[in-house]
């Protein structure tokens, strides 16, 4: 009984397993071959974004914030990634942090720079969004809107645990305080979403960055040496 059956099954195994092995091997070779170029592309893109949100930065180190609130340069450690940026001499310029949240059409992911010296946000870049072209995507292009983020106040209160003033998105041209953001006409939800994402992210990150400031700054001196 088994004979003819297994005889008929053999070519099928041969074809499937043979093709499968060959395909797996080919993919593994291509994966290994393209890896360095891909890693380099990603690093360059990240560097460009980090330097754009932190004016004056010339060096960058990726750090990990662990679950118990410590900072470590060991990128394999479990935790959340962020980038610290330094000037040519290794002095701390600030931290670049990724944040995301719901926009008008889909999740918006952005990178913003925080400067502990001036206690402000120094710029942001949209990394991924599907906002409506021509309206919602003004959050990436509108110069008046982007100007809001050149020095957006996120200073901490006396406890050092929370922001003195939460970031607020107001009507277009109604900005009167350094912690307010002028919204965009025709892109209310998208501009509100940016404010919302930053509010949530800074509330958690800023106290942690300030607390670990010396540790982060030490990495820059290591780099410069």
């Amino acid at each position: 009984m088994n004979g003819p059956d297994s005889e008929r099954a053999w070519p099928m195994y041969r074809a499937l397993v043979g093709v499968g092995m060959a395909c797996g091997l080919l993919i593994a070779i291509v994966f290994a071959g393209t890896r360095p170029a891909i890693e380099q592309n990603r690093a360059e893109a990240l560097e460009r974004a980090v330097f754009a949100v932190l004016p004056g930065a010339e060096r960058r180190v990726t750090l990990i914030l662990t679950a118990d609130g410590r900072v470590t340069p060991d990128v394999e450690a479990p935790g959340e990634r962020f980038d610290a940026a330094f000037d040519a001499d290794g002095n701390l310029i600030g931290a670049a942090i990724e944040a995301s949240g719901m926009g008008y059409a889909d999740t918006i992911t952005l990178l913003y720079g925080y400067s502990p010296a001036s206690e402000t946000i120094t710029g942001f870049r949209v990394l991924a969004s599907r906002e409506t072209p021509g309206l919602g995507d003004k959050i990436e292009k509108d110069p008046a809107f982007l100007a809001n983020f050149e020095a957006l106040d996120v200073s901490l209160d006396e406890t050092g645990m929370s922001l003195r003033n939460a970031i607020e998105t107001v009507k277009p041209r109604a900005k009167s305080e350094p912690w307010q953001i002028d919204g965009i006409t025709g892109a209310t939800i998208s501009s509100d979403a940016v404010g919302e994402i930053l509010t949530r992210s800074t509330a958690r990150w800023v106290p942690l960055i300030v607390e670990n400031r010396d540790e982060i700054a030490a990495r820059g001196r290591d780099e410069a040496r």
């Binding site: 099928m12 499937l16 291509v30 592309n41």
Partner: protein, 214 residues
């Protein structure tokens, strides 16, 4: 539908461009056509990636056609196609991260483009490697042509540029609808209308001749 054994290799190539154009005539592989045709560059890159996958998988399927038993042929074809798609995916990411980001998951989705599996099953499994490769190239070229036709129109009207270069005067107010999903449907509908119209006119021209012959 299939023509009786075409003879010349050039014909195998040319048929994909017009007579059996995968998009305009066979209406296959619609998902990537609509999704990544918002600019001409994305459309071109997508077309080339698909052409490469189709060409390679057609060739390999034709080479292996006697070694693959009928029962497992579809599974093997999908395996082969998925491999080349993964290869293309990594290659594009290594060449340009921005392009990879613009095309997004649609590179991976080339796997389920019914056009590629269709060519492997209907053509490559019955022909020699050389002819199958030409068929893949031709169909791919036809697919790319259709994508660029769509992408060109959408980019021109939707952002006033072509291949990223502004061509329309600055006073032109872009038709934003063209780069929105709806615009993809409308543009493809417009192209199909044009082709239907041309076909009908040719048939109408041929009608009196046929009557005269009878």
């Amino acid at each position: 539908m299939k023509p009786v054994e075409t003879t010349s290799p050039t014909d195998e190539f040319v048929k994909g461009l017009w007579r059996e154009n995968p998009v305009f005539v066979q209406v296959l592989g619609m998902c990537p056509v609509l999704a990544v045709s918002n600019t001409a560059i994305n459309a071109l890159a997508m077309g080339l990636a698909t052409t490469f996958v189709m060409c390679m998988s057609n060739t390999l399927v034709a080479v292996l056609r006697h070694a693959i038993p009928r029962q497992v042929r579809i599974a093997t074809y999908i395996l082969i196609i998925a491999t080349f798609v993964t290869v293309v995916d990594y290659t594009i990411e290594a060449i340009s991260l921005d392009l990879h980001r613009a095309l997004g998951a649609f590179i991976s989705l080339i796997v389920v483009n019914c056009l590629i599996l269709g060519r492997a099953e209907a053509f490559a499994s019955r022909h020699g490697a050389g002819i199958a490769m030409l068929d893949g190239l031709g169909m791919g070229a036809g697919f790319t042509l259709a994508l660029v036709c769509l992408g060109g129109v959408r980019e021109l009207l939707g952002s006033g540029s072509l291949f990223g270069v502004a061509v329309l005067p600055a006073g032109f107010e872009p038709w934003i609808v063209m780069i929105l999903p709806g615009g993809g449907f409308f543009t493809l509908a417009a192209w199909l209308l044009l082709i239907n119209y041309l076909k009908q006119r040719r048939q109408a021209d041929a009608e009196p001749v046929r009557e005269a012959l009878q």
